[in-house]
Symmetry: C4
Subunit: 340 residues, 4 copies
Amino acid sequence: MAHVSRKTNSSNRLTSFRLGGRQASKLVEEEEQRPDLGFGTRFNDTKVRLLNKDGSFNVRHVNASFLAELNLFHRLIVMPWPKFFGMVILAFVLTNFIFAGVYSLLGYEHLMGIRGKSAWDLFWEAYFFSVQTLTTVGYGRISPVGFWASAFAALESLTGLLTFALATGLLYARFSRPTPRIRFSETAVFAPYLDVNAFMFRIVNERSNQLIDVEIDVTMSRLEPAADGSLARKYFNLTLERRKVAFFPTNWTLVHPITAESPLVGCTPEKLEESDTEFLIILHAVDDTFSQQVHLRYSYRYDEIRWGHKFVPMFNQAKRGMVVLDVEKLSETREAPLNL
Amino acid sequence: MAHVSRKTNSSNRLTSFRLGGRQASKLVEEEEQRPDLGFGTRFNDTKVRLLNKDGSFNVRHVNASFLAELNLFHRLIVMPWPKFFGMVILAFVLTNFIFAGVYSLLGYEHLMGIRGKSAWDLFWEAYFFSVQTLTTVGYGRISPVGFWASAFAALESLTGLLTFALATGLLYARFSRPTPRIRFSETAVFAPYLDVNAFMFRIVNERSNQLIDVEIDVTMSRLEPAADGSLARKYFNLTLERRKVAFFPTNWTLVHPITAESPLVGCTPEKLEESDTEFLIILHAVDDTFSQQVHLRYSYRYDEIRWGHKFVPMFNQAKRGMVVLDVEKLSETREAPLNL
Amino acid sequence: MAHVSRKTNSSNRLTSFRLGGRQASKLVEEEEQRPDLGFGTRFNDTKVRLLNKDGSFNVRHVNASFLAELNLFHRLIVMPWPKFFGMVILAFVLTNFIFAGVYSLLGYEHLMGIRGKSAWDLFWEAYFFSVQTLTTVGYGRISPVGFWASAFAALESLTGLLTFALATGLLYARFSRPTPRIRFSETAVFAPYLDVNAFMFRIVNERSNQLIDVEIDVTMSRLEPAADGSLARKYFNLTLERRKVAFFPTNWTLVHPITAESPLVGCTPEKLEESDTEFLIILHAVDDTFSQQVHLRYSYRYDEIRWGHKFVPMFNQAKRGMVVLDVEKLSETREAPLNL
Amino acid sequence: MAHVSRKTNSSNRLTSFRLGGRQASKLVEEEEQRPDLGFGTRFNDTKVRLLNKDGSFNVRHVNASFLAELNLFHRLIVMPWPKFFGMVILAFVLTNFIFAGVYSLLGYEHLMGIRGKSAWDLFWEAYFFSVQTLTTVGYGRISPVGFWASAFAALESLTGLLTFALATGLLYARFSRPTPRIRFSETAVFAPYLDVNAFMFRIVNERSNQLIDVEIDVTMSRLEPAADGSLARKYFNLTLERRKVAFFPTNWTLVHPITAESPLVGCTPEKLEESDTEFLIILHAVDDTFSQQVHLRYSYRYDEIRWGHKFVPMFNQAKRGMVVLDVEKLSETREAPLNL
C-alpha cells in the first residue's frame, strides 16, 4: 500500500535512500506502528470527549505570547456575524468620540460653520463633523480651519480610509471562507446490514454549493486495559464500505460493516460506555463554487448511538422530474433487529 | 496500482494497520466493490437524467434550515451579471427611499439648504441628500443639522461604506472565480478507430486562459436487470486511450476504444436507449492564470450520440506561422462506416 | 510505478474494477502508449516552434463566441502595467466626458454654483463637477439641483463606487497573481558530465520570493520518419539526474546524462536541426509567500544550444558570511571538449 | 513504495515509457542517488549555517534585474506592521506635499475659499485642501476653480482612489497570508527513548487557528571527508517515529530513534561540531481556517542541542474539563542519562 501525498515531495526523494528498514529495536518498531491522530498523551488515560460537535478540541493553551493569543485577524474572521457587526459599530462610535474629544480640546472656533448654544450642542456638532470626516462624506457645512484642526481631520480621514480598507478585506474573508454546512445525523446507529451488522451514520449537504470528491475517515478511540492494569487510549481505523464519492447531491449513509476483522466485533452498549468509546470523523471535500478544499471534523460518543435502529429513507415523491430530498428526515430512524 | 490522494494523509497511516483483509461476509465484499459516483439510491431504478448539461443535478432539497437555503453569498456569486447589477441597483434605490423616508419624518427643517415648494420637491431633495450620503459624495449643499438627522446621516454613511466594502468583495469573487469555458461537442459519436470502433467526443477551450494538467474521467451509467427481474442502475468506468494531457492549446478528442473488455461491446443504439444509458464526464484541470484548480461536469445521454460518424478536423490553413483552430467546427461530423 | 494524483480520486476507485487489462487490439495498445503532451495533430508533421519563450503556444482560435474571446477579466489581469494604467485613465476621462455631456444637455442652470462666461468654461466646470462626483470627492461648490441633474449625479456616484470596487479587485488580482520570475540560461549546452556527456541548462530565481518543492520535467520533441516515409513528431521524456529540490535559494543546473538509454545517444548538431528538435520544459513549484502553486513553461530549440560548452560557476566570494550569487553569469559558458 | 505527487501528472505518464533503467554509467547512477535538498554546490565544503531560524537562506543575489530586485508587492507584504504603516503615512504626507506644491505654483487664487495672511498659512491651506482631495473627503470650504487647478485636483482624487484600492488589497494580502506561528523548542535534545536513544525536538501551535494534516521531515546535513581528503557536505533523511498527524491541538515531540540504521549511530557532541552538523526541518500543514497550505522551515545546529536531557511535560491540571497546556514549558528539559 502506498502512502503518498502532495506534501511529501521533498521527503520522498530522501526516504528512498534510507537504510535497510529492519529496526534494531523491537520496542521502537511497535511504537512506530501505534496509530495516533495527534491528540497529546494527556488524553490517553482519561474519560474526556476528544472532539466537540463543532470540531474544536478540549485543550486550552496558557502562557502563549500576547500577539499569538490575540490573533486578531483569526478572531475577526471566525466570530459570529452579529458580534462582528456589533464590534464594527462599537469601534466606529468610539473612534468618533475620541476625535470629537480632540476637536473640542482644540477649541470649537477651529471648526468653521459649527452651530450650537450649549457645550452639549457643540460637542455633538464636533462629533458629527468627526463622522463626516471618518466616512469621507465631508458635507463641508462644518470644516476645519487652522493647522491642528486640519491636521487631525487629515489623520482622521486617513484612519477612515485604512480602516475601511481593512473592513473590505475582512468582509471578503468572512464571506469567501470555505465553511461547508454538512449536517450529520444526530445519532449514529448499529443496524443490520446485509448478512451482518454495521455502524452507520448519515450526512447531507445543507447548502446549494456542490461538494465534490468527498472523502471520509472514521477512527474509533477507546480506553483499553494495558498490561499493568492501567487504562490507555487506543485508536482504530474503521473500514468503510465506501469512503469516497465523486458527487454528493443527495444524502450519504456511511457504513462500517462489523465483520470478523472489525474492532467492533462482540461490542455491546455497555462495553462502549465502559471504554469511553468515541467515533471521530474527518471529512475532506472540494467546494465546487471556488474549487476550495474544505475540511470538517465531527464525533459521536457512546451515548449518541442507537442500537438496533436503522435510518428511514429521505426521498419524497419526485416532483416535476426532480428527486426531492427531505433534509428534516436526516436523523429519523426506526427499530430494526440486529443480525446475530 | 496505488490509489492515493493528498487528502488521505491521515487515513493512510491508519489503514496500514487494518487487519488481514479477508472479509467475513461475501455480500459485504461485493457491495464494497460496486462502483458508485455518489448518486443516491433514488436514481438507481428510474429513467432520469443524472447530470444536466450545466453540471447540476436533478435533486431538490426541502426543509433545510432557512440560512442554509438562503446561502446569500453563494447566490450573489453565481447569479448572472445582469441579475447581479439589477439587484445592486434595486438595493441602492430602496435603501435611499428608506433613508429619505426617515429624513422626511424627522422634518425637512433638519436638512439645511433644502429647497423646494411642494412636498414632492422636498422629498426628492431629501432623497438625493440620502444618495449623496450613502455614496459619501457629500456635496454639502444640503447638510444635516440637529442630533437625529446627523445621527441617521452617520448611520447611512457607515451603511454605505460597509455595503460598498461588501460589493468590492463580491465583484472580486465573481471575477476571480475559476469558471473554465470548455465547450463540448454537441453530440458524442461511435466511430471507427484503428481496427476497432470507439466512443468519442471532442472538447475545446473557448478562452484565452491556458488550462494545464487536464484530466478526464468518463463513467457510463445504465439500468441493468437484476436477478429478481427489477432494474438497477450500474456504473462502469470507460478506459480512455489518453486521459491526461500536460497542455491543452488546441482541441482534444477523447477516445474510448471498444475492445473486448469494454462494457460497450455488442452495444446498439436500441440497447443504449432501452437501458437509459448516460455518459458522465468529470474534468479536472489547472487554470494557468491563477494556478487554480477547476472542475467541470458534463454528460451525454443515449439520444445525444451519432452512430457511424466521425469528427472532421478543426484546423484551417496556418496563417503567419500560427496554427488556426476553427472553434465552430467542434461538433461537425461526417459519416464513417463502423468496423465490424 | 504508480501514477497517481489528487485529481484521480473518483476514477481510481472505479478503475480498479476494470476488466483483465489485455487489450484485444494491438494497434489500440500501441496508441495508448504513445507519449503526447497535448499538442494537437496539426503539429505532428510540420517544422514549427511548439512553445514560445513566454510559455504561449502557436495556436490561434477563430470563431469562438464573442464573450469567450473578449474574456475581459483575464485581459485586464495579464496586460502590462503601463497599458493597464493607460486604460484606467482613458476610461476615467471618457466617463467624465459622457457625464459632462449629459449635464450640459440638461442645462447648466441645474448645476448650482457653476461659474463661467463662455460655453467652453461652463463645459469644463460641468466636467470637473462630474469628476468630483465620480470620485465621490464632492466639494460642493457646484452641486446638482432639480430631479434629473440630481438623478444623473446619483447614477454617476454609484458608477464611481462600483468601478472603483472593481478596480480594487483588479489591482489585488494583478498583484497577488503568482508569476514566478525564473530566468533560464539563454542557451542549453551539451557538456561533458562525469564519464559521459549531458544536456544541461541552468535556472535561477530572480525574485526574493522563495520557491519550494520545485519540480522539473523535460520532454524532447522531434520529427521522425514513419514507415511510409512521411515525418511524424514524437515525444521523449528526458531522465534528469535530479528533478526535484525542496529549496531553490541559489542556481540550479538541470542535467540529462546521455547514457545508452537516452534518446539523445549518437546525436549531432546536424541531426538536431534536421529533425526540428525542441526541448520542452515544465516547471512546478510552490511560492512560499502565499503557498501558491506556480507553473512555468519554457523551451530550447535546436538553434539555442551550444555544443561542447559548459556553464561557469555563478558564485562570487562570500561577503559577511553570505554566499553571493551573480545572476548575470547565468548564461555564461566556456568551451569544454565532449567525452567520446 | 510509491512516490507520487499531484505535480507529476504529466511526467509520470511519460516516464513509464523510459527505457530499461540500467544506467550505462556507474558514476551517473551514484550521482542520481545522492540526496540533495537544493542548496547549491557552494555550501558543500564550507562551515556555514544553511538555514536561519526564520527560514531564510544565507544567499545574496547580485546583478538581478531592477524590477526583480525591487519586487515591490512581495516587500510590502512581508515587511513588519510598524514599517508598513510608517511607509503608508510617509507616502501620504509626501504625496500631499507634492500636490500642495503644485497648487501653490498654480497660484492660490485658484483655490476658492482659501484664507491666510502669510505664505506659510496659505501653503498649509493648500496642503490640507490636498489632503481633503486625496482622501475624497472634499469638505468644499476650499475648492478648485479654473482648468488647471481642477485638473490637478481630479488627478489627485483619482490617485487617491487607486492608491486606496491598492492599500485595500495589500492589507487583505497581509492579513490573509498563511503565516503559521509554530514555536519550536529552543534546543533539540539527545534523550533516552524506550531501549535506545533518540534525537528529539518539540513544537507547539501558538495560535488558536487549528492546523491539520501536519507533516514533518528532518534532514541532517554534515561535512564528511571525501576520498581525496577534502570535505563534502552530505544530507541524510532522519526517520521519525511519527511524521504525520491528523490533528495538532496540543504539543508534539518529534522523535528520531537512533537505531542501528540511523546515520547518528555512534555520534558524540564533538563529532557533531567537527562535522558542522545541522538538522533541517521542513513542516507542511493545512490551516483549518481557510484550508490553506502552510510551509515552515527551521533548523537546529550542533550548538543548539542538549545531550542527555529530556523534555518535561507541558500539561497542567485540567480545568473545567479542559486539558491545559503551558506553552512556556516548551523548551524546558531535565537531565536524563542516555542508554548505552
